[in-house]
């Protein structure tokens, strides 16, 4: 059984799945950057009292599941989302969808994902992929970060759908309920709503760990890492920061480039010239994130390591925080009517 479905590669798993699942509704109009921007995907958070893989808990994107939810909501599309207690129920529901010809998104854990190289397999449970058929014992899988479509055996798929630990997927499955066609007017409104939401999460979210304030906060913390953690652990922490920022799924520059691409596409719909200028500011932020990653690598590779080097690293983040603040303030000022 195979649903007529075209695999398209994207940078990030969730915005990629969102874009692919909405392809029919939107007649290919909801591209990955649009899904990311309408879903208000850009974020920054550093939670100092939580550890992930023995390192700092840092994210450059919003919480898992939110991009799909917000994008569909903003476009007025109802979402079906189900979690399961039993593996049998999870599989029979999946089979039912496939028999009805519906490709579905699944949240999965990466650790036992057999087609990923071993070096990339950590206990990360918020990966997303699309199942679009089954042939013999193999489910047909469209994993957005992969160049080509792939397969998982029944056992392998069950194992990753029921991965355990933080954000355990519990067999979670989701898809847009209707196949109504999305109009350009709906897309325009959704873009404005996505930008407004992202302005809020980056500028006004309470607390000092998140948004542009969180970037500045992290920059200040980094300056103390050498003293507080010692050179080896400080290096590990910086390596984790770089991985969250640049690893597969980010599109480069901690998602800042995808967001810059979104603003250009937003301009094509809304014709506000400010959007093009602000897009350039996000490119500049992305470039500076990458410059900071080079500095971080100098430290964790042992080429650099003095307090001065940590100060410069911290200063990069403080500078980025100023740039992104300015960019979101400019977005906030746009008059949409």
């Amino acid at each position: 059984m195979k649903i007529d479905f075209q695999h398209i590669q994207s940078a990030h798993c969730e915005s990629g799945v969102t874009s692919s699942l909405l392809r029919q509704n939107s007649v290919n109009k909801i591209t990955e950057p649009l899904a990311f921007g309408i879903g208000a995907g850009l974020f920054f958070v550093y939670v100092p009292f939580i550890k992930i893989n023995n390192g700092p808990a840092i994210a450059f994107r919003t919480f898992p599941g939110v991009i799909f939810k917000r994008t569909c909501e903003a476009l007025g599309i109802k979402v079906i989302r189900k979690k399961f207690r039993s593996k049998e129920q999870a599989e029979s529901f999946l089979m039912k969808c496939l028999e009805e010809g519906i490709p579905v998104g699944c949240q999965v854990g990466v650790y036992y994902l057999s087609y990923f190289p071993r070096e990339y397999r950590f206990h990360f449970n918020a990966h997303n992929l699309i199942v679009y058929g089954k042939e013999d014992d193999n489910f047909l899988i469209s994993d957005p970060v992969m160049e080509n479509a792939t397969t998982l055996t029944t056992y392998e798929l069950e194992r990753v759908r029921f991965a355990k630990g933080a954000l355990a997927p519990r067999g979670q499955i989701y898809y847009p309920q209707s196949q109504d066609i999305i109009t350009d007017d709906q897309i325009k409104k959704a873009i404005v709503s996505g930008i407004k939401k992202n302005v809020y999460t980056m500028l006004s979210i309470p607390g000092s760990f998140a948004g542009v304030k969180g970037i500045k906060y992290t920059g200040e913390k980094i300056k103390n890492w050498l003293d507080k953690l010692g050179p080896q652990k400080a290096g590990l922490y910086l390596a984790q920061l770089v991985r969250m920022q640049e690893e597969i799924g980010t599109g480069g520059g901690g998602f800042r480039y995808i967001y810059a691409a979104f603003l250009q596409e937003a301009h094509a719909y809304l014709k506000k010239d400010e959007l093009l200028e602000i897009s350039k500011t996000f490119t500049q932020a992305g470039d500076l994130w990458r410059t900071s990653a080079v500095q971080a690598a100098g430290i964790f590779k042992g080429r650099l390591g003095s307090q001065e080097d940590f100060n410069l690293m911290g200063d990069y983040l403080i500078e980025i925080s100023v740039i992104e603040k300015e960019a979101f303030l400019a977005l906030k000022k746009i008059k949409w009517h």
């Binding site: 590669q9 893989n53 390596a239 480069g252 480039y257 990458r290 971080a296």
Partner: protein, 135 residues
């Protein structure tokens, strides 16, 4: 980032799939470009794995010294903390902490060991002999 500056340093992922990066073309318009990897990211991942290898080696020595049960070695091998292992096996965290003691571990039934073996995706024999077969 400009399209021509998208790095192409072959990573372990790059051997299996190229990844999409967003970058600007000559006119400043965003396009996607495939990348085989970036040295900076490769280094960051290497650092993470060197740390895991060091943890594994330390755990192995502790097991050989009879300070801790082989479970710790397999936890490091599978990058699991007690919370994740508890979720996979259904044991409470305090039970796992007990099972980490060599003398308690020796008395575990095959039924209990089987739960650990499934969580680690290894055979019961492998846990007892601390042998891993890379997959």
């Amino acid at each position: 980032m400009k399209k021509e500056n998208v790095p192409q340093d072959l990573s372990s992922l790059g051997k299996i799939t190229k990844e999409i990066c967003y970058a600007t073309d000559k006119s400043g318009k965003y396009v996607t470009e495939l990348s085989r990897g970036w040295e900076i990211k490769i280094n960051a991942l290497d650092v993470a794995w060197e740390d895991i290898e060091a943890r594994k080696a330390r755990a192995k020595q502790q097991v050989l010294n009879n300070e801790v049960s082989p479970l710790l070695y397999f936890m490091e091998y599978r990058l699991m903390d007690i919370g994740i292992l508890s979720d996979y096996t259904g044991f409470w965290k305090w039970q796992i902490k007990r099972h980490l003691k060599p003398e308690v571990f020796k008395k575990l039934s095959d039924k209990d060991l089987k739960k650990y073996a499934e969580a680690f995706n290894v055979k019961i024999e492998d846990i007892k002999t601390m042998s891993v077969h890379e997959d």
